[in-house]
């Protein structure tokens, strides 16, 4: 990963304002940002390790542990709630066997909250491994559970 970070900075720039793009690139590559990589990131952009750590922990998107093999991002915001989102959230947690905001012990699936996907007239909505799904009901949840079991 140190090599990846160094090469990225050479290609895309080594200034501080490149920090978020670099963190996105690392997470895209590895799925998460390990604390062990912080010194290399700091060195590549010539900023302090504390700075890097502060940024990683500020933003909800960045994770410091490996993600589940599948990630279900379920919208919890108001417009989806108006369409029965809370009941779907409870049912999803039960069906997938994992609490909201957690990764299942076997690492198969993570259920994560997201606050609005901009699909607010057709909720409840989710991103299943990045694929948008709308109007989620009990039947749709069954399909999602099957999909992430694979």
């Amino acid at each position: 990963m140190e090599e990846f970070i160094g090469a990225w900075a050479v290609r895309h720039g080594a200034t501080r304002d490149r920090l978020l793009p670099l963190l996105h690139a690392i997470q895209e590559e590895a799925g998460y940002i390990d604390d062990a990589w912080v010194p290399a990131i700091a060195k590549a952009l010539n900023i302090s390790r504390a700075d890097v750590h502060g940024v990683i922990t500020f933003y909800h998107d960045f994770r410091r542990t490996p993600p589940g093999r599948h990630v279900v991002k379920l919208c919890r915001a108001e417009s989806c709630q108006a369409r029965g989102g809370a009941a779907i959230e409870t049912a999803a947690a039960k069906l997938l066997g994992v609490a909201m905001g957690e990764t299942r012990a076997d690492g198969q699936v993570a259920l994560e909250p997201v606050y609005c996907l901009g699909l607010c007239a057709i909720g409840p909505n989710a991103l299943i491994d990045g694929r948008p799904v709308a109007r989620i009901d009990a039947a749709a949840l069954e399909r999602i559970a099957l999909e992430v079991a694979a």
Binding site: V55, A82, C120, A121
Partner: protein, 544 residues
């Protein structure tokens, strides 16, 4: 045969990709467009005929033959003739859903780049004057006059200036920025290029939230394809990282600079010391995308539409439990009731509308008795609410308003940037208060008989502890457990008083609108729907 199918993220979520594939496999020439903006008819297919495009929707992948021979039951005819579209004034969204978003030929054929051409033969001051005369106000929420902002940046002496587009669109119930960027990205690029010419900026950033992957891809492709047309102005996309507060303009600037997205104290204004300390125009997507129209049709044409000091059109977003949800662009002044009941068709569930939240998570909840409100910045402010980014979230009678008030506090706690105490800590205390109110309501205990300490307000709390100073272990215990339900008055009346106190502190003691406006949804829920907070219901007005 040529057919048009949307590639908008909402359309795809409803199955548009499968539909498009089915038509392609049947030998059709499939053009992927943006969304027309009415989701109850999606996935939508439009077939090109001599009489214009004929729409069918919703359709599935198995409907190809019936659509192509015209026999499909969901034949809608010309989109423009549908009620939902006939009444709109699409100044900004005229091309969205019509053209191939990334086709430069389509864009040019539908009036694209004319605004930039017009602006380039004008002086920067003339462009700024035109934007001022149009009456355009910032569509991101605060409603600040765009022309005045641009004037400040134009007048600022500096080597480098920036244009920053705020595409963080974090409010629940809003999706207009997303639809425009996915459906007509060159319109935003043109608006930014005009802004760059007007203030003398060389570089532009578009900050897009990470929850919008389709947007990010479309904007990146559009920037690349149109680079030669806006040169020497250079544009780049910056991806957010899931922080709502980064929609606040100064937090957004810090985020672009590679820092934690914390709100900066103002002054200095971003217009004078913005990105990298340089003068910066920061505008919402819709503010910038309105500018090409103003250049082509003239400031007067834009200002001719509207209400009071709210000039031009607003792309209103109908969301939540609404029958005909989607994007409805119309001049200011239309009433809330017309939008929700006539255009939106009431709730999707068919049950009565109980509340609408206007303006996202920081906006007030209004009951139907407020449906006479005209869509206008000043009218909403006077009614204790805000238009914000013009999202309207509809709720039916099953909604628990105490739960929604709790959610507003929970959201504020999750998204607070942490800079000021009323927001960072107050929101968490707010969740706790709401839990007590909901708990007491559900237990149907309205008054606790003998609270250990009658802490009905913060003032009492101060007195109680002074009186106990020096009483040794008892004092320590009280201090340690002062928040435990056994030691505070958990009656609904006391907790409601505390909630109002807290809301007041947040409103006046917060640096930005996240902490400062969270009281809007909380207090409006409490004031309009007291019965959900365990208090008696208000007497219904006869007008209802």
């Amino acid at each position: 045969m040529k057919v048009f199918v949307s590639r908008d993220m909402a359309s795809v979520a409803l199955g548009a990709n499968d539909v498009a594939r089915a038509f392609a496999e049947a030998g059709c020439d499939v053009v992927r467009t943006g969304s027309r903006g009415l989701f109850s008819i999606e996935p939508l297919v439009e077939v090109e005929t001599k009489e214009g495009r004929i729409a069918f929707g919703p359709v599935g992948p198995g409907d190809v033959a019936a659509v192509l021979d015209g026999s499909h039951a969901n034949r809608l005819g010309r989109i423009e003739h549908l009620l939902f579209f006939a009444g709109q004034q699409r100044f900004t969204f005229g091309r969205c859903g019509v053209i191939d978003p990334l086709s430069l030929d389509d864009y040019a054929a539908h009036g694209g780049w004319q605004g930039l051409g017009t602006a380039r033969v004008m002086t920067p001051q003339q462009v700024v004057d035109a934007v001022k005369a149009s009456g355009l106000r910032g569509r991101g929420g605060a409603g600040f006059p765009t022309g005045i902002k641009w004037q400040t940046v134009l007048d600022a002496p500096a080597g480098a200036k920036f244009i920053v587009c705020n595409a963080d669109e974090g409010d629940s119930g809003t999706f207009a920025d997303r639809m425009l960027m996915e459906g007509d990205p060159y319109c935003l690029i043109e608006g930014m290029a005009i802004a760059a010419h007007a203030v003398g900026a060389g570089h532009g950033h578009i900050y897009i939230r990470s929850e919008y992957p389709y947007c990010i891809a479309t904007m990146r492709a559009a920037i690349q394809a149109s680079a030669h047309l806006v040169a020497p102005f250079v544009l780049e996309v910056r991806e957010g990282a899931g922080a709502y507060v980064c929609g606040e303009e100064t937090a957004l600037l810090d985020s672009i600079e590679g820092k934690r997205g914390q709100v900066r104290a103002k002054p200095p204004l971003p217009a004078l010391q913005g990105l990298f300390g340089q003068p910066t125009v920061i505008n919402n997507v819709l503010s910038l995308a309105a500018v090409p129209f103003i250049m082509v049709e003239g400031a007067e044409a834009y200002a001719a539409v509207g209400f009071g000091r709210s000039r031009g059109t607003m792309p209103v977003q109908l969301a939540g439990n609404v029958r005909h949800g989607g994007l409805y662009e119309i001049g200011f002044g239309i009433t809330l009731g017309e939008l929700v009941n006539e255009i939106g068709g009431g709730t999707a569930s068919g049950r009565p509308v109980r509340a609408v939240q206007v303006g996202g998570p920081l906006g007030a909840y209004f009951p139907p008795s407020m449906f006479h409100l005209p869509f206008d910045y000043e009218a909403f402010a006077a009614a204790g609410g805000l238009i914000g980014h013009a999202g309207i979230t509809v709720f039916d009678e099953s909604v628990d308003m105490a739960h929604m008030a709790r959610f507003a506090m929970e959201f504020c706690a999750a998204e607070s940037c942490g800079k000021c105490t009323p927001c960072r800590i107050g929101s968490t205390r707010g969740v706790e208060i709401m839990d007590r109110i909901i708990g007491a309501r559900d237990a149907s205990v309205s008054v606790r008989p003998e609270p250990v300490e009658g802490l009905s307000s913060l003032a009492d709390k101060g007195k109680a502890s002074t009186g106990s100073v020096g009483t040794g272990e008892g004092y320590l215990n009280r201090a340690l457990y002062s928040r435990s339900p056994d030691r505070i008055d958990v009656s609904i009346a006391a907790q409601t008083g505390l909630l109002r106190d807290l809301a007041d502190t947040m409103k006046y003691g917060s640096l930005c609108a996240l902490g400062g406006f969270t009281p809007y949804p909380v207090l409006s829920a409490l004031d309009y729907f007291p019965e959900d907070f365990g208090a008696p219901a208000p007497i219904k007005e006869a007008a209802e």
